[in-house]
Symmetry: C2
Subunit: 788 residues, 2 copies
């Protein structure tokens, strides 16, 4: 146990008074935000009308956050380093608003909230007030890259920000409630992926204030020996700061911070993974707040979680107790006649960008350098005629990404994240120029592991997503490659990131950051090894519910379209781009130039695949996704052969949001354009990669929507062949021809023989595959000829 | 370090030979499933045509699983106890299929797969074969409650099965890949919630085989001291079984199992949380498989993950190597002339329900006792007239749940799960009859914590969900109460559970289990303290994509409907029921009897809320959810007052899947019934709790769909008042009246003044709230009068 008890020598008397004044000022401002809408400086006795009508916010965690912030300020001033503050207990919004107001960064961001009495009143009034600022740490707070609210991701965000920032110390406060979540529990292991030389340092500060909303926390209630073993087992050396008496706690915290900063310096010089220092801060929940209210203990219990005194306007006793509590901070010593923080309060606050609220790393667009991107044309595969060659799309992309790594090696601002799937997803060409970050043991048989590797592989989608978010919001670029089904593991993280971006886009001082790019592969149609548990194309549906200004979805049907889509995504800003693409050998339909044009349009008619372009089509075959595109083209070829008089149009959709009306999504098409593709009145058989209902949802306002007949994944899966999967979900070429016959008016009467042949083909396949375990030879041998 | 090295005295020579024979037999069968479609017993030299055309499956983890299974068999026989086997590395399907076939439970479940040569060939052929069985441990496998595939939930499932099963030992193999996931990382802490007396024991077996698909694992590559500290910090005493020489490993494993079973017995007698024993098994990946293939190491590396020899049909060298590998298990000693396992192989397999594949706990329906449920009428709130009283719906439900606990106390088969939100969600009446399970420290200030508590609260949605799944699949009942926004954290777990249930329902020997019931509250419209980060109603959309035969969604608008919906859900079987309900004070619309009828119908016309029932309506106001219902009723009242000639019909939907066609969902309505509610041709203004597109998706095939105009949550949120949230998302009563005016043909021309008043009311509200921080008095004071 490395416990630092109050060592009176660390802080001088003057420093002790200053750090305490800073802490008291922040505590005063935190409580003030929750309670006051007038009389902010308590220049007169507190009256009910000074108190907000709705008391909202979280007091419990705020004094602890203020304590850490004040001491980090002192440490930055003493040791002169760049620090970023990640607020795990993000519901302690009042604390971060208080501290950034005290250091001046809040007023720089929001000039109307001046750093004087008037501004203090506005700071109080706006908090958790309609039209004001949210109660949680949110993009509006300068210095923040971490949304408060859904807990679990602070430490992953902290590591993401530390990667490739060798001079940075990311201080990450972790609440003991958050520490119970799964994502946080595995985030401790991120130290096995952090290079002490190339990357910055993360300083976890586990705040044991003992309680959640209504329960004690696990880590606060296990024996000390267990807690200590757990943290050492995670690869950290814990330093304990425990108590409640302010002067002793100030000395202990200051001494501890000096010690851990020394250990961090030593670790970075050593160059190999140390047992990284961390701090365990054990202090009362609602520290310095009301001790007892209405006869029950509040300070140091879960009752301090939100608003410790709730009936202030109606209950004169509560009003008096509130006033006494606020005056206990001695505001008259902390703020001058104009309401500005006194020199003592600001004495330990660093200057300029050393202030944590001014860190450019927390406003990533300030430090963002555009990626140097190779020309996708240089990586395009040759396509002498549609379907004339084939390729594994992600393997082609891997070669492009290899060049992205090479071209930006000096900037050190691009990373690839994946849950142990980079090679499985066939992106392994990148290992020709970089390795996989690894700080644990390496054995002779291992391949591509290296301290300085730029690929991050860990079997945790939560860590991949959290690291990438932290990396992007601190001004870098990246790509998360994931099995399609399992990206649902981070559905809720996606929610929070989209919410962050939506708000961020409306804040003038927040500069654009690189988009969060997903490559979803090993998708639903190709789970040959894995089967039903690995089949879920619903992430796109989840994303489609999110703010239209933020989300983009692409379904490139082949290698060259994948190249162009990803090229576009890597240049984009402030979006979440979801790219769904296959890794299996797939026909190439478009050459590089055609692919560029098709991707720019997002959707278009593939004239070479249809027939009878001299007249309006009898039927439109729509497709989005690689497997659906193959089936639609096969169906088109069958129709050309078997029903040569039928006029067939093939429309391929790469950019799924094009299907929405322009008022719903920035990429949406106008109705005229939509009708020009899908006609106002002809049957549309649409083969879609995912759940078919999404196409209906996107297109339900269109003239011709009632004529849309969509095939897709209908949750019929198991371990079987790719073509059998199509048959099980009725999206195979034979079924599509049947759909055409059933939907084109009058055709059923004349094409009965063809329909019967198609039905027989489906049945023959089903019999064959159950006997031989392979697709029918005529399926395996099929190649689209494009000849008529 | 508690390392047990080979202690030759544990197993006699006979036992050693028997356990090794059992292990070799399982290994042989595991490899056979991946490779062979004929010549199963190698009675003739192996030829290419004996080998499957597609080689699929996961060899790497299988020998380790077989090793554990064999030794558990020996321990059960020696110590005579009930054991359940949870296969964390569920992709090791071949191992579990092999072991259940050897013990006879597979043949009992699937009589066509006989326990002889013919059945062995069928066992091999069907594996990962079209129309056969999946490659992962799935519901088809007797003895399993845990789907292989998506990793992370094994240990949570194991604890869920152990709760309230005092005689059971749940052996849970955890792969070192899975151990990197967040959910698994926090699942270790489940021991703080397990009562040694009342509950069973969980025996975690961390299998360090060192590699994932393409990478080493973190836990296999940290120093021993770190690993040991980590596991002790989690509250376990690790026992290490490490090596690769079979005889030594057998002795070590047997001795270790004897030791840990003794520790478990002692712990259960002590009655307080011990440092629970666990096993760390460090053995080579692909143990006993090909050591080197094509010149590169395979055994003991990631290359053994799936199919170690991949080109067997084409490559004569691989074919020879496969034959040598298979013959290395000496199948001629393991199977008799008829292909049945020899007496030596089966010597250590227990009998009857002691066989792990026959555990009734793994086929929960066998042990399921129906809940004794109170009559919801006894808890119904009085409703003299619609809107005449009000209640907090979840608080009313809490009183009902209290009686559920009381009525089933003797059966000990019901639990409530929540991420620290039971009290916040106002279900705290349950604490009158039970407490919160807690095995960590208790302090005087704490409330309701007790070892035997039946409420499980931990700040991890993953743990809540995983525990509940394990509890249900082992034959008990439960309810998961969760903040609506954060239930997305378990989106992917829901996917896997629905997939499990879908398959389970089609397996004749799997008996129905209790449904997984969600109560989603603290919902999107009432995040007064928390704001944007806590606003997401999209879980319903996610669920709606899943198999219709499994999922049900309910939106009870008030207290009595909530009671009846939950009463129904607690009696149902094999479903996932999602119930979205408010916790805030809400008008009561229906008395108990009316609520029962309305819930049984799922959707209906509320005649008392509409007007002019003597003629067809001019407009239909639809609603689903508590906040939308209030607004629709307020809009109806405004319309009655302001446009008294208008015929208005109000339709409330409780059972959302009623909106789908009957061919899409078992609860779906026929078109005639739908038209009878919503008319074939009148405008429908529908106010929906969540994202509005879902209503379009459910109703897009209906005659009148083009007349549907849906309001809902459109991702416009912040910390503000409940009514302001409605205004921001344009679902407030004034907007709904405007929508009616804009949609009813001809009305815009005559109702211009009313429309203007509504617009002004919205603007007045927006101005007022930004000044006063409270809703307009006329909103706060509004109560639905129901009088005309």
């Amino acid at each position: 146990m490395t416990a630092v008890r109050a060592r009176s020598e660390t802080l001088t008397a003057t420093e002790l008074e200053a750090v305490d004044a800073l802490w008291r000022a922040a505590n005063y401002l935190s409580a003030g935000q929750i309670y006051l809408m007038a009389n902010a400086l308590l220049r007169e006795p507190l009256r009910p009308e000074h108190v907000k009508p709705r008391l909202l916010g979280h007091w419990g965690t705020s004094p602890g956050l203020n304590f850490v912030y004040a001491h980090l300020n002192r440490a930055i001033l003493t040791h002169d380093f760049d620090a970023l503050f990640v607020t795990g207990p993000g519901h302690g919004g009042p604390a971060l608003l208080a501290n950034t107001w005290l250091e001046g960064t809040y007023t720089e961001a929001w000039p109307e909230v001046t750093r004087n009495a008037e501004g203090m009143e506005e700071l109080f009034r706006q908090f958790s007030f309609p039209g004001g600022v949210p109660s949680h740490v949110a993009p509006q707070v300068p210095g923040s890259i971490h949304e408060g609210g859904e807990l679990g991701y602070s430490l992953a965000h902290a590591y993401g920000a530390a990667f490739d920032n060798p001079g940075l110390v990311v201080a990450c406060v972790i609440g003991d409630g958050e520490a119970e979540t799964g994502p946080l529990a595995t985030s401790w292991h991120a130290n096995k992926f952090l290079d002490p030389r190339r990357d910055g340092a993360v300083l976890p500060i586990l705040h044991l204030n003992g309680y959640k909303i209504a329960n004690p926390t696990v880590l606060a209630r296990i024996p000390h020996a267990e807690l200590d073993a757990l943290l050492r087992g995670y690869g950290y050396t814990p330093h304990y700061v425990e108590g409640h008496e302010p002067a002793e706690m100030h000395q202990a915290m200051a001494a501890t911070l000096d010690a851990v900063l020394g250990e961090i310096r030593a670790a970075k010089q050593s160059g190999h993974r140390p047992s990284w220092p961390m701090i365990v801060l054990r202090s009362p929940k609602g520290w310095t707040g009301p001790s007892v209210v209405d006869g029950v203990p509040v300070e140091g219990t879960w009752r301090a979680h939100q608003v410790p005194l709730s009936g202030v306007r109606q209950n004169p006793g509560h009003l008096r107790q509130l006033e006494a509590w606020l005056r206990s901070y001695r505001p008259e010593e902390l703020f001058d006649d104009e309401g500005r923080p006194t020199a003592q309060v600001t004495a330990l606050i660093p200057a300029g960008v050393r202030r944590m609220g001014a860190s450019p790393h927390a406003n990533g667009g300030l430090v963002l350098q555009p990626l140097s991107l190779p020309d996708p044309e240089e990586h395009a595969v040759a396509v002498p005629r549609p379907g004339g060659t084939s390729a594994e799309p992600t393997r082609v992309l891997g070669r492009y990404l290899r060049e992205v790594f090479a071209a930006n090696a000096d900037k050190a601002n691009f990373r690839l994240f994946g849950p142990d799937e980079t090679a499985s997803n066939r992106l392994d060409a990148v290992y020709e120029v970089t390795g996989k970050a690894w700080q644990a043991g390496i054995e002779p048989v291992d391949e591509h592991l290296e301290a300085g590797g730029r690929v991050l592989e860990v079997l945790s989608e939560h860590l991949c997503q959290g690291w990438l978010e932290g990396y992007l919001l601190s001004g870098r670029h990246g790509l998360f490659s994931c099995y399609e089904a399992f990206v649902h593991i981070v559905d809720s993280m996606l929610n929070q990131h989209v919410k962050w971006l939506k708000v961020h886009r409306g804040i003038p001082w927040r500069r654009p950051v690189a988009s969060l790019n997903y490559l979803l592969t090993s998708h639903v149609w190709r789970q040959d090894h894995n089967g039903f548990s690995h089949q879920d194309p619903g992430f796109v549906d989840h994303v489609a519910n999110k703010s239209a200004e933020v989300v983009r979805v692409y379904l490139p049907p082949d290698a060259n379209t994948l190249l162009h889509v990803m090229h576009h995504c890597l240049r984009s800003r402030d979006y979440v781009n979801v790219v769904v693409a296959g890794k299996n050998d797939t026909p190439n339909w478009l050459d590089g130039e055609q692919a560029a044009l098709h991707c720019a349009r997002g959707a278009g008619i593939w004239e070479w695949a249809g027939s009878h372009h001299d007249r309006p089509p009898d039927v439109v075959l729509g497709c989005a996704g690689d497997a659906p595109t193959i089936e639609v083209l096969a169906a088109a070829e069958l129709l050309r052969e078997l029903l040569p008089e039928l006029a067939v149009r093939v429309v391929n959709v790469v950019d799924l949001m094009r299907l929405q009306p322009e008022v719903e999504h920035p990429h949406g098409m106008g109705d005229r354009e939509f009708d020009a593709l899908f006609t106002p009145d002809r049957p549309v058989i649409f083969a879609y990669h995912g759940y078919p209902w999404l196409i209906h949802r996107l297109a339900y306002r269109r003239t011709n929507h009632h004529n849309f007949h969509v095939r897709g994944y209908t949750e019929n899966g198991t371990t079987t062949t790719p073509f059998d999967m199509l048959v099980l979900n009725r999206m195979d070429r034979f079924q599509l021809v049947i759909d055409v016959i059933d939907r084109v008016p009058g055709l059923a009467a004349t094409a009965g023989v063809v329909r019967q042949r198609m039905t027989e083909a489906r049945e023959r396949h089903s019999r064959w595959i159950r006997r031989h375990g392979e697709d029918l030879p005529e399926i395996r041998d099929w190649a689209w000829t494009g000849e008529r």
